[in-house]
């Protein structure tokens, strides 16, 4: 089982995006709001604050009460039946106070893990002035479908305007307690388009369950219960999930830090990732030594050319 040899000539196709991360954070501004409650701040939300929360351009922790966490106090009470009210009030608050601070508006639960860099990358090809909405697409209840609440969903600036306007004009109402379905219905009413968040290989980026639900190999079988609502044909095993995943849900505190470690820290030295989202990027080598052994290559001093 040797590593593969690649016959390289003077041009090597490698995806390298050295400066992508800082550029994107100013070009693709994301405001994150986390649906939480006073009881969860210590057990859940603090771990978001310690991990991915700081990667948002702005992060707002939405609760029934204001606090030094800091949380925003919405004019709602807690409980499952209040979730859609919370969503409505949260987006209204954001529209009033932060509309110009961001281009895209992400909703997440306090047990969702999000990789902001991959979200920005996915959104970078789209125009926030268009009425768009991304997430994990579910089919039932609404004709055009809706995006799973737990996996997190993102509204473009125009979509946010339309959501708020819909309620202001009475076209959208609090017609359900299930916030993701309710929001999905309003999106349909206000003619906001459903986006496709899958990567170039058709793999999912938003996930309503933890990675161990999807990644283990399975023999072909009828859809398990957690894949029943899927709009796109679900894939079980390694093809389930993009390398550039955006979210996982039902993530407890230990898993939150574990995913942080996997995403941002633990890595295989020198590994050339199989998946290259941008195949158009070429590398021009100024001075380069190639040693063709069983798969080990030494590269020195490269320049980037974006085609």
């Amino acid at each position: 089982m040797s590593l593969s040899v690649s016959k390289l000539n003077s041009n090597i196709l490698i995806a390298e995006n050295r400066r992508a991360a800082p550029e994107f954070s100013q070009k693709v501004r994301v405001l994150c709001w986390v649906m939480t409650q006073p009881k969860h701040l210590k057990s859940r939300t603090q771990h978001i604050r310690a991990t991915w929360g700081k990667r948002c351009n702005i992060v707002l922790y939405m609760s029934s009460e204001v606090s030094d966490f800091p949380t925003v106090g919405l004019n709602v009470s807690e409980g499952r039946s209040q979730l859609y009210w919370k969503t409505i009030r949260a987006f209204q608050h954001i529209h009033t106070h932060h509309l110009d601070d961001a281009d895209w508006f992400l909703k997440a639960d306090d047990d969702t893990f999000v990789v902001l860099e991959n979200l920005r990358y996915g959104l970078s090809k789209h125009n926030a002035e268009e009425p768009l909405y991304f997430g994990r697409r579910f089919t039932p209840f609404i004709a055009q479908g809706y995006m799973s609440g737990g996996a997190g969903y993102v509204l473009s600036k125009e979509a946010l305007r339309r959501f708020v306007k819909g309620f202001a004009d009475g076209l959208c109402t609090h017609n359900t307690e299930t916030e993701d379905v309710g929001l999905g219905k309003c999106m349909e009413t206000m003619k906001v388009q459903m986006g496709d968040s899958r990567d170039v290989l058709g793999r999912q980026t938003f996930h309503p369950y933890p990675p161990d639900y999807y990644l283990p190999r399975q023999t072909p079988r009828p859809r398990p219960w957690y894949l029943i609502y899927e709009h796109y044909q679900p894939v079980e095993g390694p093809g389930c999930c993009s390398d550039l995943a955006i979210s996982f849900h039902y993530i407890d505190a230990v898993q939150m830090h574990t995913l942080e470690y996997y995403t941002y820290h633990l890595r295989p030295y020198g590994y050339k990732y199989r998946f290259n989202p941008n195949v158009k990027i070429q590398v021009r080598q100024e001075k380069r030594w190639l040693i063709q052994t069983l798969g080990v290559i030494h590269l020195k001093r490269k320049e980037l050319l974006y085609v």
Binding site: M1, S2, L3, S4, V5, N17, R18, R19, A20, A21, F24, V115, L116, E117, N118, R120, Y121, P211, D212, L215, P216, R217, G237, P238, G239, C241, D243, L244, A245, A253, V254, Q255, H257, T258, L259, E260, Y261, Y262, T263, Y264, H265, L266, R267, P268, Y269, G270, Y271, K272, Y273, R274, F275, W289, I291, T293, L294, V296, I297, H298, L299, K300
Partner: protein, 317 residues
């Protein structure tokens, strides 16, 4: 009755004293051999980034050719699920991986050593690997319950000469003896393997069937034989001194860190260049495989001096 009883008691006492004397004598013997051998480095770290950048092309070329790994994975039919998981995941990243089993399984391929005793099996595997090494110069011995990131193993030994005796992993002490813990994986250089083959012939110092009154674990038996060959255990760690070889699972280590370092859980926990983890279930290992080889944030680039290509015919890395 009394007369027989006291003979019995005398016999027991004499026997007990004899046992104590024999075991004392044995430890005394092994103690004296440790004098006169210098521990040049008890802690072993990877080459620094600065040093890597200073290297000449021919040096880099030598190193890249040397740093190829033969994985010996010691399985039994009882560990079939972990065997299959290792086969499907990390072992694909070894330059050569061979499964050595106590008895054959119809389901998975392995070299059947037909040996129930674990130490005897390990010896046979080592002999087989040495004879079939080809031009591979580094050897990694692990059970299938261990998960290894071979690229990070290569990074650790990159600047080490395999014609020198190296014996690396997570080190522990058994009395005066430093040994490498089996559960977190054992790294051996070619020279160490060569010396082992030699010392295996010495039935007094390195017997195949233990002559102690109780069974010693293979990891300490290995350390003892190696000590007689002048090879000493070294602890593999990163530039910050964090251990690279772990027998605990990632979530267990994270959980410990949450208790001990709540302000800085991930930073304080585990190395970015960790090599092994243990005690993980099959589905946790599939997630770890994805976490190591695939899941990453777009736009982060590391400028490593070497590149390792992904293995052929694999879809989970």
């Amino acid at each position: 009755m009394m007369y027989e009883g006291s003979s019995f008691m005398k016999g027991m006492i004499l026997g007990g004293i004899f046992c104590l004397v024999v075991s004392f004598f044995e430890t005394f013997n092994s103690g004296t051999h440790s004098e006169g051998h210098e521990h040049l480095h008890h802690h072993l770290k990877p080459v620094s980034k600065d040093e890597l950048e200073k290297l000449s092309e021919s040096q880099m070329s030598d190193w890249t050719l040397q740093v190829r790994v033969y994985c010996l994975i010691m399985v039994t039919p009882k560990l079939l699920v972990h065997w299959a998981t290792a086969n499907d995941t990390w072992s694909k990243h070894c330059d050569k991986s061979v499964f050595y089993t106590s008895e054959s399984s119809k389901v998975l391929e392995a070299v059947d050593l037909q040996e129930q005793d674990e130490w005897a099996r390990l010896r046979k595997a080592i002999r087989h690997a040495y004879e079939n090494a080809g031009d591979l110069r580094w050897f990694f011995v692990a059970r299938p319950t261990t998960f290894a990131i071979i690229e990070n193993l290569k990074y650790l030994v990159l600047d080490k000469d395999p014609s020198q005796p190296f014996y690396i992993g997570h080190t522990e002490k058994s009395g005066e003896l430093d040994y490498v813990e089996y559960d977190s994986g054992i790294v051996l250089s070619y020279e160490t393997m060569r010396r082992l083959i030699e010392i295996f012939k010495d039935v007094d110092r390195c017997p195949e069937r233990g002559n102690a009154l109780w069974k010693t674990p293979e990891e300490t038996q290995l350390a003892t034989c190696l000590k007689y060959s002048g090879v000493f255990a070294e602890n593999g760690e990163d530039a910050q001194g964090k251990g690279l070889f772990n027998k605990k699972s990632v979530s267990s280590l994270i959980s410990d860190s949450m208790g001990q370092n709540p302000a800085d859980v991930v930073e304080a926990c585990c190395s970015d260049m960790a090599i092994t983890f243990g005690g993980m279930s099959q589905s946790q290992i599939q997630v770890l495989m994805y976490g190591v080889y695939r899941l990453r944030p777009y736009g982060h680039d590391f400028h490593d001096s070497l590149t390792f290509l992904p293995p052929k015919d694999s879809d989970n890395d």
